[in-house]
Symmetry: C2
Subunit: 246 residues, 2 copies
Amino acid sequence: MAQVQRQDIHNSDVPLLCIACEARHKGVCGALTPLQLTELSRHTKRHAIAPGGEMFAAGAGAGRHSNILSGVVKLSKLLPDGRQQIVGLQFAPDFLGRQNGPENTVTAEAATNVRLCSFPQSALEAVVAQSPETGHRLHLQTLRELDEARDWMITLGRKTAAEKLASFICLVASHHNPEKTPGKGVFRFELPLKRADIADFLGLTIETVSRHFTKLRKSGIIFVENNRQITINDMDRLLAASQGST
Amino acid sequence: MAQVQRQDIHNSDVPLLCIACEARHKGVCGALTPLQLTELSRHTKRHAIAPGGEMFAAGAGAGRHSNILSGVVKLSKLLPDGRQQIVGLQFAPDFLGRQNGPENTVTAEAATNVRLCSFPQSALEAVVAQSPETGHRLHLQTLRELDEARDWMITLGRKTAAEKLASFICLVASHHNPEKTPGKGVFRFELPLKRADIADFLGLTIETVSRHFTKLRKSGIIFVENNRQITINDMDRLLAASQGST
DNA sequence: CGTCCTATTGAAATTCTTCAACACTCGTGG
DNA sequence: CCACGAGTGTTGAAGAATTTCAATAGGACG
């Protein structure tokens, strides 16, 4: 009885760092028991990274893995001559790092201020060995990233510049207000990317991005302040502009 | 002793269907014991599908899963107005089917004649429950598909039409002669896609694809017979043409 | 105040698409 | 046996979209 009680107390002892952490609820840590969290937290470090800071480069060893606590991370690829394509954006509480591969295939860079909770690969492996559910969550995140990548492929391959930009704004909006994205209300949020990054994400030049921002503004679909603050006046029209029906 | 012997005999009893199957070696079935294979094979069916035949549609329930025994499968997405983008090609012995999701997010269609070995979702789940290694293999395939999708994103977003076509030919070549792709020798193989599919894969029109085929032909990099038979005369030049250095 | 970074706008150049015509192959049926 | 049509692929000319080059403007910072 006393035994049980003590265990209870012990189990409720979630590490301080984890208590308010989003990754514990929706991220990969969600499947861990307090004991496992405590064990993992012995190997974790928190980092703050400024915009432009690089977390890992394509070709580099797997190194440390991280949960994103806040901010937005760009995943990008480079062509030998310097052309760049952003192949994914990661938001809190996404997991960041190459699983099951010797090296990273993309470069990860902070788009905004980013806070990470990172741990060495060995710690992740130990956790997965103990908690198959965590392995499953990693698989689920990979599947979600695959879906997102393929969704973006149709944007890159088949949409016009105007549709691409509308798609991007929709994507960011959906991360600020999940669920009720196709709703009626007025959204207001900050773009996590500067024009050059948006261009690299959409496969366009900054000039084309800028021109189509202007068109969306003039058509009244969005309102822009300080280049980054976006207000969506008419979500339905934006959604329509992101697909066929111009 | 007699017990062990009987087990040995039993274990070596790989189902007939599986003996020559590539999926048993390099695919998801590779981690299964003969016993597990026998169990799984009780639920499997083989299908042959002609070019253009649809395996499953985006939005359809997960239904059956398959190993590709031979042939090439297109994974594609549609925009409401009918524009199409091929988001992936799958070759034997790839696994085909939506894991861990209620419904498919892409449409799968045979590009060539395709032979499948399929089984219901429940059978797959039973196998994964018994063989964690199989779950791991599925995760690895998902990671590989994610890498391929992201590689293709830079092709779609940042390459010129000429580079895109060269990239496509390289991609197909690498599946006909894995490993020594950057070698010197002369390759000859058949394209699994018709021009319209290549256009949908590259985010171009069939006319643009055709024009750049002609340019590659006239430049001597490739030789084309019957529209589909490709001979790569100079792999290094093709590789160079697929990236920056024209 | 000058410089760097970011963003916008215009004009010219380029690439890709669209529209149109034509060629080839392969079955089918008269 | 040949004509016909469907499916596939090539080529040309005109048009549209995007890029490139160039100039300008505002904000942040030393």
